[in-house]
Symmetry: none
């Protein structure tokens, strides 16, 4: 059970579609509209949703906010400005955790978003359990609806899974080079550099070797990467041998 | 010092403007464009930025990705699909923390975003230190550029509230190698390896170069360490020249 996203009197079909797409990006699919200005269904919305048809297709339209939230147990009102109400104000991270806990205990939850121009009115905010606001720059706080929906659905998704598991793909899982591999790489490098008289003067050799080993150590390389590097050194060495003959 | 946002070959001015607005929402203001299709400056971008003129006004345009990242010390490549590279893949939360730590130790950081249609190519990804991807629904993973920028700038802003625990002692504070230093190291290595015919067969060269750059990238080396490595390559090269005579 994911949260229901409620857009109150959205004006532009494009914004409804972009909100639907933002929801779909993070696996949220229940969209409700209260008195969309240009009516519903909307071609502009479907186009802007760019293939989030599974969201657009089951979007519900309501005449009042009260009806739109009637079956929900816990609702957030999103707002960018402070209201003269004694309501708890939450950051998206905390809000997502509270919604997750409510859902996990059998509750049905929703998040209300207001009009493009001036958001939700105080009567609508008053219907919500708590207020949700975003940590925007106070000097540039106007987010469009789709972007507010995006961030909140992103936090919802994160609250549900450990982060790595939520990623579409992960760092390739390849065996790390062992210290033995690394020491072979060190020896190989140092042999090649001795051949070309790199470590001069001799009394500096130990310190130069320590530096080089520190540098090579930083790579935290995979086995196959260390093999590649040894191939590099070998290639440069073979050239010497060839050219010596 | 906030991260630099780099858009590679953005097609639509609207997307550039929406990205600028998303940056401004979270206090990020340095935008760089590589070969924007419709040129720069762009009226469409300025309109879509809806008053994020402080971002649009100082946006820089570059001809190549290498130039766009030359002065940066640590760069993320954002991508929605897995690449055949042994690069570390980070979630936005971890990436923001890594960027914050780098900035706090004097590093200059950036985040690259690809084209609307097909993102960054592998050569561009190979230039980055690590890969950044978003925890989207694998069945609906296409985010537009502005929304990817929005979420990452949001996490950047959130990472600022974290405090680093005081350590008994710290990593020596030495200047990190810039991307320019790294690209010189890449070129130097590849030149030396071309001399010895390492990149065979020719059609494999590009992929071998990408692997080698990925390997060298992992060191996160200081300027002086990259100088040492170039000395290593030069020593091995000089030997060839001498022995060729």
């Amino acid at each position: 059970m994911d949260p229901v996203i409620i857009l109150v009197e959205p004006q532009l079909g494009e914004n409804i579609g972009m909100a639907a797409r933002a929801m779909a990006n993070f696996g949220v699919t229940d969209l409700r509209l209260v008195r969309p200005r240009d009516g519903w269904p909307s071609e502009k919305a479907r186009n802007a949703a760019s293939r989030a048809d599974h969201v657009i297709g089951k979007t519900l339209k309501f005449e009042t906010v009260e009806e739109a939230v009637a079956d929900l147990d816990f609702v957030y009102a999103t707002t960018a400005r402070q209201r003269d109400m004694l309501k708890t104000v939450r950051h998206p991270v905390e809000a997502a955790q509270i919604l997750r806990t409510t859902v996990n205990t059998g509750g049905k939850v929703g998040i209300m978003f207001g009009r493009e121009r001036w958001g939700l009115n105080n009567d609508e905010v008053a219907l919500a359990n708590e207020i949700l606001t975003l940590p925007v720059d106070p000097d540039f706080s106007s987010l469009n609806i789709a972007q507010a929906v995006l961030i909140i659905c992103y936090e919802w998704r994160m609250s549900g899974s450990d982060r790595e598991a939520a990623l579409p793909f992960e760092t390739p899982d390849v065996p790390r080079a062992s210290k033995e591999d690394m020491v072979r790489l060190f020896d190989h490098f140092e042999e090649a550099l001795d051949e070309v008289g790199f470590f001069r003067p001799p009394e500096k050799r130990q310190h130069m070797v320590q530096n080089l080993r520190t540098i090579l150590q930083k790579g935290d390389w995979a086995e196959q990467e260390v093999r590649t590097l040894r191939g590099v050194v070998a290639a440069l060495q073979r050239r010497h041998e060839r050219s010596r003959q």
